[in-house]
Symmetry: C2
Subunit: 478 residues, 2 copies
């Protein structure tokens, strides 16, 4: 078996190397469709991109279903949501079935934002960068899977797994409607899925491939302090009326210290103990604080030690203050005493923090601190939204297969990494399909996914497509 | 002399009482011109109102000069500033010369804001309210002076003082250009001015007339805390980067306590000692905390004792927090770590606080508190603007004359009051003309000057016009 795999993969890798110009042309074609989901003016382009994906899949014999998520209200208009493109290829009961997720919409981009070239014209730079909006996020990976399938067909290599594609067009705008479709289709379209693979993330650095096995959760809060019925003039009322903003800034000061330690009692009690074994995973990762400082253009990094920075990003909870609603926020000065102010903050959660317990501890802390202030204003602290953390064992067979695939292509084992943010669909797939989810990456940390001059290195694109084929083969070898 | 005065005033008062319908019609005519200075769409109406004032004054033989303050940038347009209408009536060296200030522009108003009637149609309510935008602020007083002059002429009564009018059209929009004109004209148009009278303020309550002898100053500050070069995603950076907003909320918490005590060391050292004698002025004033609570629609009043509330508004400094620029301020939640945040606050100052010392103490305090935080972010705390407090002795002849005038009309001595806000032009007149300034009021505390359903009570309008004539007579009697 292994020798057949080896031989097939060698043929496949060679085909990919021999056809890079075509592969890049395909990416160019996709980048040229400005499928910006955030802007109603571009909504028809998102649909166009969905049709492009559908046509490409159907051309390869993939059975396609376009699922309509309904409508949304956007900038005062009711607009149709772009379809979730479901694809099915192969139903051989002897094979494992892999579900694959990606998105075909992109972030907004206009040249005047600081792009060196037109964002929707793919440019191949001399240093190997393929520059264009969506190149790395997430058109490169979506097209990569299609090209991988096509290459197998052209070479007459049997696809070693059954495939279930799920490509959405709203990822950059909150994935509206996606969760409902995934839950609805879990026992229909996605029935029999053994493993799930998401490719919408990045290497930790710029030199080593990575596999992501953890994401933090997010609990958002509002702290509303109200006093008078309407905003007041500080000349007439200053010194005579208790000001909601005075109480609010004091409350916001009790949440986290300068060095990032959360001050809500009990919040760390739920965090999994950090083991010595685990500590080893943070050694020798391709991450430098100096890179972080360069990205920030300022040294306001909390930790001197690189591993501490990564632990703080991935492994421990953090609390960030976002702002205040209801207060004066413009330039200049205004002699106002705001009547009602709402502080906004959120907590990034990690295993095994429970959403309900986090909420309870946070609200209790705010109420208790407010009571100490002895203010005549009113407090209403509440949870705005919550999403759970996600954690998968990197020892799971899905990860073993992905890891072997990476090693086969790049000659090195992937870095085992986590992310500080959340990718909510990961949890949805895990819960709906009851399968393991692996986060395989194509691009690098410096691709500028949501920024100007977004790029995908040609190296990452080509090797990434190879890696997809290797992943299918390694799944079949499990 | 006194008997001539008495006889003339009796005739004058009777004329006013006999002509109330005409006087109200005149106010109706002025209210019908929507001279909103804040909105470029209405700028031509402000000019129209200026022309109305000019025509009325010239019709009475007043020598008028329309002074052009130049242009301003307003909502992206360069617009002409409305003229400052200067008027001169009488140059008898045997008489005292009184400068009179008022403004002919008004606050914005549209019916849908909650007006019960069209804001630019003066409505005489059954309870005696004359409802309309500008009725009390400040068209009632401006027209009052004109009607006072006209009445004297119709009755053949010699005007007992020389008059210098100064009516501007930008008071509700920062009095742009006025100060320069006042300083420029101090030794020209206003040469020889003995006393200045401003009528652009209100009684303390709703039953007793008042004379205002003090205003607080205003020093505004910005507290800028910056960290990374651009806003960050809290998922990727939360827990690894020191957040400017965490430092800022802590700094803002060190400025003032819940009960209004300013926490900047040394700030109270400059406040004039509160004497027993002075304490008597706060006894028996027509002010109730219950009225304040009713206005606020909430009990967030700091002081149980009425006199303490007034002392805190008038006599002691206060510090108000206004808001934060650069942070998230919209509804909902956003996972942002703001890169640069600017806290805004201001201090209301009182005798004998020095602007420079206040600035120095405040900046020093912020720098010292920031140093304690041991943050890697950068602090830049600076003064945004400053205006001095104003205080006049209520024993000055100008006040004696005004007080006698009030007593003659209302049968009761005025309440001696101060205001918590600032009326910057007061200080300008005092400094430019080197004369005493009296703040005589026409309307009541509940007139809703900048609010919906602005009104001037017919009683206040009519007696207020009488009071103006009495003030001229009492100045002549000094």
């Amino acid at each position: 078996m292994a020798s057949t795999t080896d031989a097939n993969l060698e043929k496949y890798f060679k085909y990919i190397d021999d056809n890079t110009a075509f592969l890049i042309d395909q990416l160019r074609e996709a980048v040229a469709i400005p499928s910006i989901s955030a802007d109603p003016k571009y909504r028809s382009e998102v649909f166009k991109m969905g049709e492009w994906v559908k046509a490409r899949l159907e051309g390869l014999g993939v059975r396609v279903q376009m699922v309509d998520p309904g409508t949304q209200e956007l900038q005062g208009q009711t607009v149709q949501l772009p379809p979730v493109v479901l694809g099915e290829y192969g139903t051989d009961p002897a094979k494992k079935t892999v579900a694959i997720y990606g998105h075909y919409d992109v972030q907004p981009a206009i040249k005047s934002d600081g792009w060196d070239t037109d964002p929707f014209t793919l440019v191949e730079a001399e240093d190997g960068r393929l520059i264009g909006r969506g190149s790395t996020d997430d058109k490169g990976p979506v097209i990569g899977w299609i090209l991988c399938l096509e290459a197998h067909q052209k070479l007459g290599i049997d696809i070693p797994v059954n495939l279930k594609f799920c490509f959405e067009g709203m990822e950059e705008s909150g994935s509206i409607g996606l969760d409902a479709i995934i839950y609805d289709q879990a026992d229909k379209w996605f029935k029999g899925t053994d493993y799930t693979c998401i490719c919408d993330n990045f290497w930790l650095g710029t030199t080593k491939p990575g596999l992501t096995y953890g994401l933090r959760g997010l609990s958002s809060f509002a702290v509303e302090v109200s006093g008078p019925a309407a905003d007041l003039h500080s000349g007439v009322f200053g010194g005579t009326v208790q000001e909601p903003l005075v109480a609010l800034t004091r409350l916001m000061s009790t949440l986290v210290d300068i060095d990032g330690k959360i001050l809500i009692p009990g919040i760390y009690d739920q965090v999994a103990e950090f083991t010595e074994e685990e500590g080893k995973r943070y050694e020798g990762l391709s991450f430098k604080n100096t890179d972080l400082i360069r990205d920030l253009k300022a040294d306001c990094v909390m930790h001197e030690d690189e591993a501490d920075t990564l632990k703080s990003r991935w492994r421990f909870p953090s609390l960030s203050l976002h702002g205040i609603e209801g207060a004066f926020y413009e330039a200049g000065s205004k002699t106002v005493i705001p009547a009602k102010v709402i502080g906004k903050f959120s907590i990034r959660t990690v295993p095994y923090m429970d959403l309900d317990v986090v909420n309870e501890l946070t609200i209790k802390h705010l109420n208790s601190e407010f009571a100490k202030l002895n203010s005549k204003c009113k407090l209403n602290a509440y949870n705005l939204s919550g999403g759970r953390w996600w954690y998968s064992s990197p020892d799971h067979p899905n990860y073993i297969a992905a890891s072997k695939a990476v090693k086969r292509v790049y000659g090195t084992a992937p870095e085992l990494i986590r992310e500080g943010g959340s990718i909510p669909v990961t949890l949805t797939f895990e819960e709906a399909f009851k399968t393991n989810v692996v986060l395989l990456s194509m691009g690098r940390a410096n691709d500028g996914a949501h920024s100007t001059n977004e790029k995908l290195d040609k190296y990452n694109y080509i090797e990434g497509i190879k890696q997809f084929g290797a992943y299918w083969a390694e799944i079949a070898n499990l």
